[in-house]
């Protein structure tokens, strides 16, 4: 799951740095915005079958790769 998520993030953020630092705040680093966030939700649903609606979680709860992984583990 981790590998697949990192692939998704790398494609959306267009930066390899997401691979190196799983605790990097993607919003603060300017790698993820409203649009990227939406793509992320679509890709998560398509890849893992886990539905997260756009208003469901605060962005800070999904700001780093590790936080997203924790959320997915909790849901999956």
């Amino acid at each position: 799951m981790q590998e697949k998520l990192i692939d998704i993030l790398e494609r959306i953020c267009e930066d390899e740095v997401v691979r190196e630092d799983l605790d990097l705040d993607l919003f603060e680093a300017g790698l993820l915005d409203s649009l990227g966030f939406t793509e992320l939700l679509v890709d998560i649903e398509d890849t893992f079958g886990i539905v997260i609606s756009p208003s469901e979680v605060e962005r800070e709860e999904m700001a780093t790769a590790n936080k997203i992984l924790a959320l997915l583990a909790e849901r999956g």
Binding site: S34, L35, E39, V51, S53, P54, S55, E56
Partner: protein
């Protein structure tokens, strides 16, 4: 008497905050008191206008039933898009009728705050469809929808966030801390609205009839800053008041005029509105457009998403040409910003440098102020004056 403007309102506010404070520091639940004081102050403000009061009451009863019936149908039929669509429309209907008042020969649902209350009802329907909300009790719903500190112009809270605060009783220390911050916000809000906004409005009045370019520019600037201090001042008072009821109503403004691009501006200006639009319109439009492949690239989709999003926001302000232009203007600016930031090598190379950010800030400020000129209606007046 009206919300956060006249002496008598503040007098009543003071009277209502004292019992809240006493309950708060004694670690008693504020649930019932919040509902009762909301109903009481709404009655006080609207008692001179029974038509408005009746429409508000009707709106409340309608929204309560729409939410309750939809919750039940959602449990029985699951994520059914047809039922969902009908309930969205039902929830929106009073607002649509109200906004069409200018066109239709009759006036329906013209009451203070309908635009803001509609967001609250809609949000519950949408999140029920998403499965995020499974139940909402009548008392929480009533207190949320009719919460008087934010009833007239927001900030737009979310039912789940509100519910968490509403159903929690703070410890004495937590409450004192919150009430202290609340008082600070109310006082700062008063300075914003009654001192700074009032002063800036003198400038607005002074330049309103000038048509030289510098007079128009001065008008736009005074109008922009006036709008900020007036609305941010109101918002601070609303947020501060809600703190006394143990509700941490979200912030609405965060130094909007320091923004370095238009996307940042909408993250700092009227935040609860733009985030509502982001979560319930933009994101959903984007997810649909990605799924259904409406556009050949995601960037095109995003550009369309921004324009649709902001056009709806413009229309929400009112059905007038100025508001439509305002929405379209901001939609196009956001779309252009997105394309520029994704495509421009120049941007990617220099975006972190100090000079670039400085220039970007100056340009953004001019674009923002021009937006206010459109919003104020003065821009279209000037255009018409040229013909």
């Amino acid at each position: 008497m009206s919300f956060y403007t006249d002496f008598i309102f503040f007098l009543w506010l003071l009277i209502l905050l004292i019992p809240a404070f006493v309950l708060g520091i004694r670690e008693k639940s504020l649930r019932i008191y919040t509902a009762v004081s909301s109903l009481f102050i709404i009655w006080l403000v609207l008692r001179g206008d029974l038509r408005q009061l009746a429409f508000l009451a009707l709106f409340y009863v309608l929204q309560l039933h729409i939410v309750k019936i939809y919750l039940r149908l959602r449990r029985i039929y699951g994520r059914n898009a047809v039922i969902y669509g009908h309930f969205i429309l039902l929830s929106l209907l009073p607002l649509i009728l109200c906004k069409l008042s200018g066109i239709l020969p009759f006036h329906l649902f013209n009451f203070l705050g309908i635009s803001y209350l509609t967001f609250k009802g809609l949000q519950i329907i949408i999140e029920t469809y998403d499965g995020v909300i499974q139940e909402i009790d009548v008392l929480s719903f009533t207190s949320f929808l009719l919460f008087f500190p934010a009833i007239s112009s927001g900030p737009i809270d979310r039912s789940r966030r509100f519910g968490e605060d509403y159903n929690r009783t703070l410890s004495r220390t937590e409450y004192l801390e919150m009430a202290g911050r609340g008082l600070e916000k109310i006082l700062l809000g008063m300075v914003y609205k009654f001192v700074l906004a009032a002063l800036l409005h003198e400038g607005v009045d002074y330049f309103v009839s000038g048509s030289g370019w510098y007079e128009v520019a001065a008008y736009a600037y005074f109008y922009g800053f006036y709008m900020f201090f007036d609305f941010a001042g109101y918002s601070l008072m609303a947020i501060g008041t809600s703190y006394f009821f143990g509700i941490k109503t979200p912030e609405n403004f965060n130094k909007p005029f320091i923004s370095r691009d238009m996307k940042e501006f909408w993250d700092r200006w009227h935040i609860t509105l733009s985030h509502w639009f982001r979560d319930f319109i933009f994101s959903r439009f984007m997810m649909k457009s990605i799924r259904k492949k409406w556009f050949s690239t995601r960037l095109q989709g995003a550009a369309a998403g921004f324009i649709v999003n902001m056009l709806i926001m413009g229309m929400w302000h009112g059905i007038s040409l100025s508001y439509l232009c305002y929405g379209l203007y901001h939609g196009c600016l956001l779309a252009a910003t997105e394309v520029y930031q994704k495509k421009s090598k120049f941007y990617k190379k220099y975006k972190k440098s100090v000079w670039y950010q400085g220039v970007s800030w100056i340009i953004t400020l001019q674009l923002v102020m021009f937006g206010f000129l459109i919003f104020s209606g003065r821009f279209l007046e000037l255009v018409q004056g040229l013909q």
